[in-house]
Symmetry: C2
Subunit: 351 residues, 2 copies
Amino acid sequence: MENRHCAIFGPVLTVVVVRLHAHDHPFCDDIMGTNDGVSSSVPASHTITIALIWIKTCQLPNLPPTFLRSLKTSKRASDIPSIRIWYNLRPQTCSSHHDSLPLPNRYVFDVFGTLFDWRSAVVREFKCLARDASKRGSNTEAMLSGVNWMEFTDEWRKGYGRNTKALAAKPTPSDSFPKLDVVHRQILDDLIISHGLHGVFTELELTHVNLAWHRLDPWPDVPQGLRMLQRGYMTSTLSNASVRLLVDLARWGGISFDLLISSELFGTYKPNPRVYLNAAELLDLRPEEVCLVAAHRYDLEAAKGCGYATVYLRRKGEDDGEPEINTPNEKIDVVVDDLQDLAVLLGCMNI
Amino acid sequence: MENRHCAIFGPVLTVVVVRLHAHDHPFCDDIMGTNDGVSSSVPASHTITIALIWIKTCQLPNLPPTFLRSLKTSKRASDIPSIRIWYNLRPQTCSSHHDSLPLPNRYVFDVFGTLFDWRSAVVREFKCLARDASKRGSNTEAMLSGVNWMEFTDEWRKGYGRNTKALAAKPTPSDSFPKLDVVHRQILDDLIISHGLHGVFTELELTHVNLAWHRLDPWPDVPQGLRMLQRGYMTSTLSNASVRLLVDLARWGGISFDLLISSELFGTYKPNPRVYLNAAELLDLRPEEVCLVAAHRYDLEAAKGCGYATVYLRRKGEDDGEPEINTPNEKIDVVVDDLQDLAVLLGCMNI
């Protein structure tokens, strides 16, 4: 069983999203016996997804204590029944606990790290490249054998962070705004030299691996989570990736958005406020009507500074070095660990 | 039977795209007997779509003369068999007739008139509005009874053409670039006065009908045609509609693109060359690598002037007053009457 906590509203309300997959569990009848907000008209033999409102006082509304106990103690997916049940968490159903969920109905997403797992794909491509290059001679093989491609990739990514933040700090749009492929290549070239790998790879190989960022896989929860969200809400990227890079990533990952917004359109990079403000303006919305979903706090804090609603989608290996956040704060409205959980939280059905 | 001519390459090659829908036709076996380029592994009981290469010399390659005769003489859909057969027209299969199809593999689409039937939806909304307003009194009813909403809508659309062309003619980006909703509203307000309808509609009603352009239905061939094209090719809008308008139209029409490009991003309107050149630049492509599909020649001519490939998608009621075009010319590379025909022409399977 996956048991995920999504803390909203800090002191007022905590939402527990639980995914259940299995057959013929004894407390199935208990669940089906609860009516308020829980649909019992869904056919059997489906995967269960349940989102439960768990009031801070630990009273589960309209759900029997046995079920709550089972949730807490159940360890294995096979413990759980196979009937799909929905606890509708649309804002109006929460109104008795809080005026409304603090989220608007337009969602923009950070891409690298939030929706796509950049680390696995880039490391994989480096390893392929190194294996091929090693065959060219024992000298090259020796040079490459000492490289930790995971660390190399993390350094590349850190260089991206430093460079785009420096570009974002420039106050006015630069005529010579460099697209992200160019920024990536400059950092890569520096890393190749600092790791003593000059001349090891051909120009064609470097060009190819520099475009590895166009060939990332989405995190496993993303394709279905986005599809669920899109039924009820407008979705767009809001990314430092260039427009072309976003097109390639979406096609590669087999996912689609209503719109692709790139900071390239505004001649700067996140976290420059122009990106957030101009994106809202493109959508004919006030910033308060847009919600950013991102795995990095600097991004969410800049968005909140412009008036956005914010969802912190926690991803392992992103935001390293920052103290862990489990509950909302003044910059972060909602914390989730999974895009499908967010979709459920917003009342999007998994059909 | 629908029999559509798509003339390509002028003197070299003519492609006839034929759609066949029916069951148990006697020459079914003849078709299945042809192997070269025609897949016979498709299960029966499907709708047929056949694209035939018809060399100017009138020899159908590898298809029996009886079949060709049947195509020419068949009048009704029920005359035709139900097996789906594909003649792959990807460039490489045409290479014996011509070096390659003159089309690249990135497609951008004009929207109003090309993909969406603006006239029907806007007229429908006006008629609803007028019916409601007429109930307010015999005076209002008399004022509205004489209005031809089809002509009114056509005047609105002509006003759009005049105004956006005037805005496009301004040489530099204007700081006060008006979004299309604003342009539409100015024209509507003028028309209301010139038709003696001042005070007949409430402000709320005018605001609502001004946004009718966000609620258009796609032409019937568009949803499936776009889906087919997207399997093999990148698709984007290239429209004078604002970004938000494009988002709303795509969601309303239940269609999706890889990308939405609006002239709003470039602070001007088509046919200003900046729109075509900047759109290609956003895609990291040379203009020659992009193909515009549009139902208006002024748009295609401007795109061709920037180096684009061009497909003229003929739509009844668009480009009125222009002499009819049936074959390509120096500004138009391909002429089609249906988006699914274009998809077939480009080798996209209808699965």
